[in-house]
Amino acid sequence: MIEFKDVIKEYPNGFRAVDNLNLTVRDGEICVLIGPSGCGKTTALRMVNRLIDVTRGEILINGQPNDEFEPEVLRRQIGYAIQQIGLLPHMTIRDNVAIVPRLLDWDEERVRQRVDLLLDMVGIDPGIQGDKYPRQLSGGQQQRVGVARALGADPPIMLMDEPFGAVDPITRAILQEEFLQIQQEVGKTIIFVTHDIDEAIYMGDRIALLRAGRLVQYDTPDDLLALPRDDFVREFVGTDRSLKRLHLISVRDSMMNNVPCCDDDATLQEVTACLDRHHSDSAFVVDAGNGKLLGWVERPALVEYGSLSEAMHHAPAASIAVPEDATAREALSVLLSHSFDLTPVIDAEGVLTGGVSIQRLQDLVEEPGIHAAMQRERGR
């Protein structure tokens, strides 16, 4: 647990980079510090491992003030990753990752095992890439190594200052997703600085929005989006905050299980009964044997052709349905691009498991807080 208690950073010229910051980061959580540039988020981060000294107030790490440690001893217990990565160009990838373990005098065999484990974890092949030098890797790979290095000696706490800032958006998205997977395994207490609200929403368990050194709002992403405290927060999170909230919700959490559907060998009567039961003019058609989504059928066509096999539209499931683990935002996108009232949801095997309707999505973004609770349940 990291606690900022009335922390002030004042420079000799009187400028306060951080002004009376009170913040608690719980164990195993990612706390994102965000705000416009110059808001003091990086300063706050760097005060944790004493790269910058606190002017007044104190920072407690697991209840112990951080100025009770020698700075070097403290830093070796805290992972540190920055935007510019800062890999040492004259050392191999392995040696870079091994820096902190070696500073801690681990024996070489343990260092080697740890390095292999970490490189594997971040998706770098220790055999092929391990003996290369940083300049031989792409930007994305370097960022991965930067993360592996920060995890070097398995520190309980990590400080990450825009660690995925220097790569293109696609690579960044991949790195973010992978990092969340790693975090699920390792459960570190993380302070994460970014200026990208989307990244903050995606990565953060809690977001601390700073402005001119002061904490404006500290909430879960969902609460921040749903209940912005003032105009500054509202403006900062953007007018598309509802869409952003959808991004936080998975299809699995937002879908309805009971959707009009029928087997492909159903009789005309069975199909009509199903449509009637759901008060719907169309229904999804699934394989009678394995339940996989095959297409859909509409009431007028049924009337016209008189049999399901002739009336139904065949379509590949991937083009009309969304997978269960997609976000509600993706489901909305599919809804908008097809003229369905209901977007079918399929599982990994292509079996129809439910549907998402526009009404349902609207309901979700109107009820603040619920989804955050859902997420916490899922232990994200």
């Binding site: 830093r75 540190y80 510019q84 800062g86 160009p89 500073l103 400080l159």
Partner: protein, 555 residues
């Protein structure tokens, strides 16, 4: 061949044993050059000069030709000195008595010829003890000098294996005192007119002493007696003609020279003493050995191991020895300079050999470089530390001004303070050479990006660890470039040391300028230029070796 092309070839997978081929080429060149025997032309070095030393000794009808400038001083006070055209006679030629004989035969008016021996070198058989050889020689020597006027000091020393040197002049004796290890004992012989006894002595020793294998006379004077009424000037001209035929000859094949260098504490400065060492091993054998070594490296050691420090050091040492051996071969310099200045009487400097000057030069450069590198690194590192950063402009200004003041001026200022000799030159060189090292150290450390230092600190490295494991390795290439610049400039600047008597390759240049002997200027300038190129090569290789591999990869 540059490193870049080498790496390029290696990356493309197209490899040739470049090293072995280059050494083979060198071996072929040395073989071709070594086949030639050249006539040596320098009068001071290889041939006695009697141009100003013709004396007519009153009433004795003799011409005394002093074969060296030095011996003239010790000679009989001349009553008549005749201007005689420049002539030559080989000093140190094994056939000195035969020269006398040739003169005697050729000149009708000559009634007597005597060679005054300065040094008589006697070689004896290998199975004989030095003491035994000396006692065996004592009798003929005593006999030869017994009825002469005056006293000479004959000094017996073991200069080389199975050799005894008799010296008959004070000059030689003084030399021996500097090398006491060589002197076994000094024996005195009563002798009168020892100078004239030289050739008799030589003949006598040859005929009397069984153990002798060879005999060498180094005559300082030729005493030529002439018939009454003979004209002096034609006689002298004739003498010159005959003597000209006795130019010594030498092979152009150099032998391997080594270098012994040891740090030597000269309070209050640490100095490096450098001594050239002739091995007598033909250089061609060394180059052939290197062909074998290079081929071995190429075929035995896998490609990945070839950037090994030891291999680079081997290359550097081998190239240095090749260069050093060429510097050491005096006949080569005589031949080169004679080709450039065919009319010059003086070609090789009388005060020392090229390799002696080069050794003194290296001594100056290496000694000053120790201080430049250690001091420059120290200053550069200090002023980039957080606590001393305010001294950065001061240090910058001081080292800058060190280079703006002309070296000669620094040398001149130092001379009255420290005195003449080695040290003021070293101090001037330090003042002049500090700038590139300090500036590049600062630039190198500043070039390390802030984020790298930040992440190193953030990981918990101490300031010392950051300096040693991060800043210096990353800056090493730029720092090495500064050291390289400094040392190459240093070699050129060190020639100015000659003006305060520090020795070095500046001596032939300075005396060449003052005596208007162009050959001497080149004798200093060519080796100095070669030394600078060699140093640049050596440090270039070291730069590649010492730069961490990760930094050599281009992005």
């Amino acid at each position: 061949m540059t490193e870049a092309t080498k790496n390029g070839a290696a990356i493309a997978g197209w490899r040739l044993p470049y090293g072995a081929l280059l050494w083979l080429l060198a071996a072929l060149l040395i073989f071709a050059v070594g086949q030639r025997t050249v006539t040596l032309h320098d009068q001071e070095k290889f041939i006695g000069d009697f141009a100003f030393a013709v004396e007519q000794v009153k009433g004795e009808r003799r011409l005394i030709l002093n074969l060296t400038a030095g011996s003239f001083v010790y000679g009989v006070t001349p009553e008549v000195i005749l201007p005689v055209p420049t002539g030559r006679f080989s000093r140190g030629d094994p056939s000195a008595p035969q020269v006398a004989q040739a003169l005697f035969d050729a000149l009708n008016s000559v009634s007597e010829i005597t060679i005054a021996a300065q040094t008589i070198t006697v070689a004896y058989q290998g199975n004989m003890e030095a003491e035994q050889a000396r006692s065996r020689l004592r009798r003929p020597v005593n006999n030869a000098v017994a009825n002469d006027r005056g006293t000479i000091t004959a000094q017996v020393s073991a200069a080389a294996e199975n050799t005894i040197v008799f010296s008959t002049s004070d000059e030689r004796f003084r030399y021996a005192q500097y090398q006491p290890a060589l002197v076994e004992s000094i024996e005195e012989y009563d002798s009168r007119a020892a100078a004239e006894a030289g050739s008799d002595l030589a003949r006598f020793i040859v005929s009397e002493s069984r153990p002798l294998e060879s005999l060498r006379l180094e005559p300082t004077r030729l005493v030529v007696g002439y018939a009454e009424g003979a004209a002096l000037e034609p006689l002298a001209r004739n003498l010159r003609e005959i003597l000209n035929d006795f130019h010594p000859r030498a092979s152009l094949a150099p032998s391997l020279w080594l270098l012994t260098a040891a740090p030597e504490i000269i309070p209050p400065l640490l100095a490096i003493a450098v001594e050239p060492l002739e091995t007598g091993i033909p250089l061609i054998l060394f180059t052939l050995l290197m062909v074998a070594v290079e081929a071995g490296i190429f075929f035995v050691i896998p490609h990945k191991g070839k950037n090994n420090l030891l291999i680079h050091l081997l290359h550097i040492a081998a190239v240095f020895l090749l260069f050093w051996s060429i510097l050491g071969h005096e006949p080569l310099w005589d031949a080169i300079l004679h080709a450039i200045f065919p009319t010059s009487a003086q070609l090789v400097h009388p005060q020392g050999t090229v390799i002696d000057f080069a050794a003194q030069h290296l001594e100056l450069v290496l000694t000053s470089s120790i201080y430049i590198i250690s001091g420059g690194l120290f200053l550069g590192v200090m002023v980039t530390r957080e606590n001393f950063r305010e001294f950065l402009p001061l240090v910058n200004n001081v080292v800058n001004s060190g280079q703006t003041v002309p070296t000669l001026a620094i040398v001149a200022i130092m001379a009255p303070i420290i005195g003449l000799g080695f040290m003021p030159a070293v101090v001037a060189l330090i003042a002049y050479g500090l700038l590139p090292v300090v500036r590049n150290t600062i630039a190198g450390i500043e070039s390390v990006s802030v984020s790298i230092v930040d992440s190193a600190r953030g990981m918990g490295m101490t300031s010392q660890q950051i300096l040693l494991r991060t800043e210096l390795p990353i800056a090493s290439r730029i720092i090495m470039a500064g050291i390289r610049t400094s040392m190459v400039i240093n070699i050129g600047t060190a020639t100015l040391g000659a003006f305060v008597g520090s020795g070095g390759l500046g001596i032939p240049i300075a005396s060449g300028l003052s005596m208007t002997v162009d050959a001497f200027i080149l004798l200093g300038a060519i080796p100095a230029a070669l030394l600078a190129i060699l140093t640049d090569y050596v440090l270039g290789r070291l730069e590649v070796v010492l730069t961490p591999r990760g930094l050599l990869i281009e992005t």
